[in-house]
Symmetry: C2
């Protein structure tokens, strides 16, 4: 029934629009949060915080639309898996917005003191720019369904994990001279960026699943703890 | 069609069984991870880490069952909302297992050094026992759908947030004499427990939504940052 199929495609088109817009906003939030950290710009940090409800509202619209599509169309098999994957992707994008907001909140909390003193600043800004790159790759993947982007995205996330390891280790070097409070802040900020990246990997796997019908074997993802030993970071 | 309804109930019964079992395992994981931290028991920490795949396997079974129920029954309205809520609850329970595992990984990473030195130890153990209490309340709520438990659970989660605030603040007291590394570890561990609690609140809201068809107004949840100022903790 091409007519019905066509209308179903129209439903999916709006779902894609919402996901792409959420991804744009989550990427902008990560970029602005990082810029507010770089410049100790509390007004920009506040704009990131104030912008998060727009992502939440899109997430709510997405959930309602998906619910109505499933109820009205009673999709099966691939279509249903695709709709449930979109539900999952939306939850990941909403969370990415939260994590960018938490970075901005720490910038605001410490203002006018910079949250990232000394050499740690460059590492944090690198984590932020890699997070923005991951959001851009996620957007391209959601738009194109080009599975070739999945491995690229995973490779970029590995860079984020490496920066995370390096930053945590730097807090424990003998030459760390900034004391406990910045170390606590940086532990949280690094964690926020690292989780942001994990969500983009989860989204990439969802898209891969939609397109190929199968998922890669889960990769154990190691990150150095504050010490030399290793812990697996949450996915 | 009571016959079909009956079979639908049978489908839901297995979904409930899986959710309850996942919640049991997530609660046990939090309890054992906390006990391994208390006793610096690396073997127990390892058992928590080794036990997590069982929760992941149940989560996978849950997702597949829900997919097949939706595809076969084409539920609408309340039934569909309930099934999608179960999907969400399963994701939260799976994540709670991960967070308990991360606590155990830090215990293993630092062994034989205790991750929580001095006075911080009692606070961390309190966070762990409150987390276990939250898992028990979540289990009771999933089993009984007694909405009276929602506010009790939220109240207990507020205690967890208070302990989180107190622990972060204690790292910055002048009498904190344990240096940066334990402060970084405790920042992460406190974060893991606090997120664990947040997931139980999300589950409680899902159950409330299933039963009442409406959600409470989201409460802004403040937590003191390492300093006296406040930041909102991620939901």
């Amino acid at each position: 029934m091409p007519g019905i199929r066509h209308t179903f495609e129209a439903d999916l088109h709006r779902v894609d629009e919402i996901l792409l817009r959420m991804c744009e906003l989550a990427g902008e939030a990560a970029g602005d949060a990082t810029a507010s950290l770089a410049a100790c710009d509390v007004a920009l940090a506040q704009r990131v915080i104030d912008g998060d409800p727009a992502i939440d509202a899109l997430h709510h619209e997405l959930e309602e639309r998906l619910l109505h599509i499933i109820a009205r169309r009673a999709p099966v098999a691939t279509d249903l898996r695709m709709l449930l994957a979109a539900l999952r992707v939306g939850a990941d994008l909403e969370r990415m917005g939260d994590l960018a907001r938490h970075v901005a909140k720490l910038v605001r909390m410490r203002y006018p003191r910079p949250v990232a003193p000394g050499d740690s600043r460059a590492l944090v800004l690198d984590m932020g720019s890699v997070a923005v790159r991951l959001a851009a790759l996620t957007h391209a993947l959601l738009e194109s369904h080009d599975i070739g982007l999945v491995n690229e995205l995973i490779g970029v996330d590995d860079r984020l994990d490496h920066l995370h390891r390096t930053l945590l280790s730097s807090l424990l070097e003998p030459d760390w001279e900034h004391g406990v409070e910045p170390a606590v802040d940086l532990t949280l900020i690094a964690r926020f960026y690292e989780r942001y990246g994990d969500h983009t990997v989860t989204i990439a796997h969802q898209v891969q699943f939609i397109v190929t019908g199968s998922l890669p074997e889960p990769r154990p993802r190691e990150v150095a703890g504050p010490a030399r030993q290793k812990i697996v970071v949450p996915r």
